[in-house]
Symmetry: D2
Amino acid sequence: MTAAQLTLVQIDNYGPWTVTPEPRREMDLQTLQSRLFADIAQYIGNRGGYVFFTRFDNMVAVTNGLDRRDHELLQESVGNRYPVTVSLGVGVDEVPIDALETATERVQAAGSAQSSDRSEALAGEFHDGDPTDEDVHIAHFDVNDATGKYTDRLNEFDSFINIEQGYASLMKYMREEHGALSFFVGGDNVIAACPDLSHDDYMGAIDHVAADADVQLKVGVGSGATPHEAGFAAKHALEDCRYEGTLVEFA
Amino acid sequence: MTAAQLTLVQIDNYGPWTVTPEPRREMDLQTLQSRLFADIAQYIGNRGGYVFFTRFDNMVAVTNGLDRRDHELLQESVGNRYPVTVSLGVGVDEVPIDALETATERVQAAGSAQSSDRSEALAGEFHDGDPTDEDVHIAHFDVNDATGKYTDRLNEFDSFINIEQGYASLMKYMREEHGALSFFVGGDNVIAACPDLSHDDYMGAIDHVAADADVQLKVGVGSGATPHEAGFAAKHALEDCRYEGTLVEFA
Amino acid sequence: MTAAQLTLVQIDNYGPWTVTPEPRREMDLQTLQSRLFADIAQYIGNRGGYVFFTRFDNMVAVTNGLDRRDHELLQESVGNRYPVTVSLGVGVDEVPIDALETATERVQAAGSAQSSDRSEALAGEFHDGDPTDEDVHIAHFDVNDATGKYTDRLNEFDSFINIEQGYASLMKYMREEHGALSFFVGGDNVIAACPDLSHDDYMGAIDHVAADADVQLKVGVGSGATPHEAGFAAKHALEDCRYEGTLVEFA
Amino acid sequence: MTAAQLTLVQIDNYGPWTVTPEPRREMDLQTLQSRLFADIAQYIGNRGGYVFFTRFDNMVAVTNGLDRRDHELLQESVGNRYPVTVSLGVGVDEVPIDALETATERVQAAGSAQSSDRSEALAGEFHDGDPTDEDVHIAHFDVNDATGKYTDRLNEFDSFINIEQGYASLMKYMREEHGALSFFVGGDNVIAACPDLSHDDYMGAIDHVAADADVQLKVGVGSGATPHEAGFAAKHALEDCRYEGTLVEFA
């Protein structure tokens, strides 16, 4: 049975900070945000987890394999090296959106995202019991022949619009139908943290996006004790789609 | 008259590299992409330009103020420090999408994004003549009370869906109606490189997104010789919206 | 009984790379080196280890708490994100220099530092058995009132010469007398991985540097199962020196 | 005539910050320091300057080609992205140590390195008049066959001791005899900012280090309007030494 551990990473009081005492240089903010994400990606990633940049001031991570102490140390290290701090909320559930609901509530309970009183809150529940190979399900989507259809043919913004409309359609469908969380991760790739779904469920999502946004996706699916294990299997399954010419492959 | 200089930054042969000899760890790819973007943001940003991560393997920059030599040096520095190289295309036009069209064609003409033969192409036309305060128009949108309506109330993914659907709607409208390029830059912020647009044009965009995606935007608009100057003025104008309770302000 | 695990991190074939096809920009090399060190510092540091930049193309780490799998993953992650790869050798001994001797021999046995044939070698012996609080001894030295005597009074280079001559004297003495490895870590700080030494041993070192280089040091000493535990205790002991006006304090 | 512009970069109130409210994790401090240096290396380096990490909390840069506005922007960007700020002092002189003396005095006059009152001071005099090809002289030293003699034969710490003793000897000699500033830059390399020196002056330095520290150096020397131009010529001259088997070559 799936038991996804989700962590919400929220920068404390970030909005006000970006305009105090006056608006800060946009490219400095972009640099700060993307480097903070990169650091967290390394920290969580080399412990087997996955993190997604989402809105950058709020990031969503799948953290099976990381315990409370790992979360505390991440918080301490960010605080030591950045001009901002982060609060962390953690939840565990069979359905990713429900785990994130818990995680978010814990952070919200500690104070507003724009409160100067809240700093480095850490609250939530961690996966206990032994990890199993069914704890995490990852689906890795990409666009069929995106380079041939878009990148090498259209201007970059029109390519991007196509990818983006496909993503907007997929993220909404997967969340509403399955409580799955889908994240654009660059290029033509979307990675989703899912409950245990069937071949037909994935075909349903692909059909929906083809009809709704006219973008043709394919998907590889894997499961494992950690996001890295599940996601690595999903990547291999997606390679199988490429060689077999299929739209859905399970590892 | 607007004269936006747009640069397409495209990683050479990135797709194949990410799966050779077998798929690379996802969090290493995320780290590489976001740090490369951060470095380019610093380089272009402290010369007065703006860059947007777009799809990460393809980034779009507004580079008024940067000449051919600046572009060559960026290419050299990336090549010295990363396991990948970048090709650059440059175009100038009154309408941003047309400038990017030229920029993209130049890169495409040098070879496919997935060709191992193309490496560090640099081609295009640079802004010549004296810069003027009307060269670049930047619009900075954000969502009205996003913290109160979304971040402090919904789980993070549902907040993100709202922001994302608003963005998907805005990016498409602004491109189709005005040839403007809109980029999500984190939080609830979207920055657009625009031609010279009127108050009514911006109200039209805001109304469209409210009707289409049920997201209430406001916008500050600035112009200048460089993206930083235009964007900084836009940020101040957006602060004016906040204090005045208005939806559109020009610097 | 002390059981320090030392890791040599050596960039593969770095010298030739820096001048191929022609010399690379010095500031790009400096950036590459210091960011690679920073990444390794985060990776090893948040697992309880310490790494020192030494010559940058060769770094020395105290890695009690990191096993073979941790070393493999570090190697993989560097290879995924940098234009260079690293080889790793590991050794364990009561005396740090002997552990490093083993670690170095393992890397040397795999090929020359300037051989294009060697890539990502990993060899050595890891600490087995249960960790104990006596495994690692760390001494944290600093210069008495460096700000008052040097930084606020001399030009920066003359301040630096004083610190550097003190360091050159200390590193040689500690290695020759005790097989300890001393590393300059910035400011007026030197951190040493030591065998189990007495109060008199440390006083001997301080007296030697005072006589040989006319620099007045003090030192805090700690021990623990990992470098972080030992080093953190040493920092607190050094704070005790500061408040007590003493030259040697044990945690 | 030489006209070197030297900048002292000093982190404000860094010492106290590192131990407040209690000592911070050493590896976080190492990461912060080396990344700050890397960022400054990119900023100064891609404008033609050189910066050296020196003590990390104090860095020395040769900044011919960077004006007051460039310095202000560096300060602003660091302040936007790090938990610390930097003060900058600038001086120009025929002799590098005298330029640095001026630069340091300007920072010292603004307050102590450990004063919480001083923040982001910027003071000094900038190179005016037209740049000439004689403004900056850079000497690039390395150790003859360091890989064969040390790296592939000794344990890494003993290799490092040899390089370090050679450096300590050279830095002192060059400063005392010529007012030149020599910096270890990794591997077996030392880069020096020098006044206009002769072949015999450099042979004198090499002979001194051979006698004093038993380390055999060679050196390439270049001059230019900026450190990059001078240093790049020096690197090529050092390659000439390698091929010709000579000890001193001028570009």
